[in-house]
Symmetry: C2
Subunit: 319 residues, 2 copies
């Protein structure tokens, strides 16, 4: 590593009270809580694949951690530590300062210590690895869904995808609407508190990063079950709702990624408890369908007719 690149680490060398030893040695040293299990996830964001290369670096800093926190949320794990591997084409101090600002803002909000990393020269990309803790046998996994479970989704669907469709010129939005939806795309809120609250209630969970149908499909595949989703129950924000007749609508709501909401299943008996969680956390929770033993994922309308979802890009063979 050139010394120029070594200096970059200064942007990421804040004190790490959550670690025994933070940045500056061969490894960080961490003290896990006794008896807890560790939840670990790694995500890479590549310029011009996952974000625009000229993206606002502060927002990018937030998002790079937020998407990893979303994975922890989907496991019901409490965030503890993260490492950052940052590859940059050149050293731009202003960019780095803004990126670090966004990253630490997200870290502070969710109680994460950035304990280590690496900085290298190359095409712009970021790899975050996140570590959280969860008591044994309480993690929310993909493989626990059972026939009869209700399927729930937090928040609203399609906001980030509609923003992306507008940015790509496929949808026209007013400036005000674009700004509102772009916040979902650029600075998503990981559902960390919700994930913790769902321990002991949800039988399975996943975060919606690849689209509702694809991600619910992962639960079905791992659990060996099928599902019926009620098209008219899908939770929509006001702006997305107004685009219900647009050709992009179904793709945004059912196959759009980047919302980072949680999709989970729970026994019907937990409906009241889930309502109390929604009220306490101020998070909308919507039952959108049910798990059944018969394999396959179908979406049906208010009349019970099965809808053809191939136009959304969803490949039912992957479920």
């Amino acid at each position: 590593m050139t010394s120029e690149f070594g200096l970059i680490q200064r942007h990421f060398s804040r004190a790490t009270p959550g670690a025994v030893l933070g940045v500056g040695d061969d490894c960080a040293l961490l003290q896990p809580a006794t008896g807890m299990q560790l939840a670990v996830s790694t995500d890479t964001l590549v310029a011009d694949v996952h974000f625009f290369a000229d993206a606002d670096p502060e927002k990018l800093g937030w998002k790079s951690l937020a998407v990893n926190l979303s994975d922890l949320a989907a496991m019901g794990a409490a965030p503890r530590w993260a490492t950052l591997a940052l590859t940059l084409p050149e050293v731009d101090d202003d960019w780095l300062a803004a990126f670090a600002t966004g990253l630490y803002r997200c870290a502070d909000q969710f109680g994460v210590s950035l304990v280590g990393g690496d900085t290298t020269r190359g095409a712009l990309s970021l790899t975050l690895t996140i570590l959280g803790e969860v008591p044994p046998n309480q993690a929310l996994r993909r493989d626990g869904a059972q026939a009869g479970d209700e399927i729930w989704v937090s928040g609203t669907l399609g906001d980030a995808a509609l923003a992306l469709a507008a940015l790509h010129g496929r949808v026209n939005l007013t400036d005000a609407d674009l700004i509102t939806l772009a916040a979902r795309l650029y600075t998503p809120t990981p559902r960390v508190e919700l994930g913790l609250a769902l321990r002991g209630l949800a039988r399975s969970a996943i975060d919606v990063s690849d689209g509702l149908l694809a991600d619910l499909g992962h639960i079905l595949a791992r659990s060996g079950v099928g599902a019926i989703v009620e098209y008219t129950h899908l939770p929509l924000g006001e702006i997305v709702h107004d685009y219900a007749a647009h050709p992009e609508f179904d793709a945004c709501v059912l196959s759009g990624g980047d919302d980072y909401e949680l999709c989970f299943t729970a026994p019907v008996a937990h409906r009241k408890a889930l309502g109390e969680i929604a009220a306490r956390l101020g998070v909308r929770l919507t039952a959108i369908g049910s798990i059944r033993a018969e394999p396959g994922l179908i979406v049906r309308d208010a009349q019970g007719q099965v809808l053809d979802m191939r136009h959304t890009g969803y490949d039912h063979f992957s479920a």
Copy 2:
């Protein structure tokens, strides 16, 4: 992620007996041993910066894990788990199969479970995050060197750097010698067993990845001490020894990276114990100098004359 890229994960989905839950959920779930501390390190290797883009993928798989294991070794931590973030310009099944073979060969040899990862499209780069365990207060840190400590190095220095100099056309080697040295460059052996054996004996340690002077300099900076290194004590392999008169020699031995040996300091009283470890593990251990209170890192010859090391690329201001 396209399904084409999703399929890549099949190459990295072996059973993970070392994990509660391995690849296939939002996070991996791990059960740390009670009371142990976690050592965590992240390293990125970028094509055409850290390796040739057309490098043998099996060797690259080995090296990408080995360099992370070297960081654990330098902490005296026992390897447990790793995650892999792999960015690829295209899906090449043969390349992936060979890369996975090398990675798992290294993982199996050192008892590491690959528990998760991410695969994305982009310029070729790899980020490994490794997790190991070490009992509280037994980690080998950079900040523990004390005046009077002897400075030790494992193995031999300069082998990998001389191979690289030959591959870049700056040094002529016989084919046999190049093959021998290239093994040090492409498939380094992390000193994991040595790191574990040094718990309770070494006061500080680091792995030699950026060159002896730079890495020893990190120990000095973190410990607030200085050092004298005896030029004639530096441990050399036969091939490197024969190049002692070559203009590249000092740069290879003193500033060459990629040897992944351990440099550590220990009280003189531990000399006998270190000799027994060297014999038991079959690892050469050489005392190359001593720590002193006076700041700065100097190299002196057999006559006690201080040598000018600026031609090695070593910047003494960084110590």
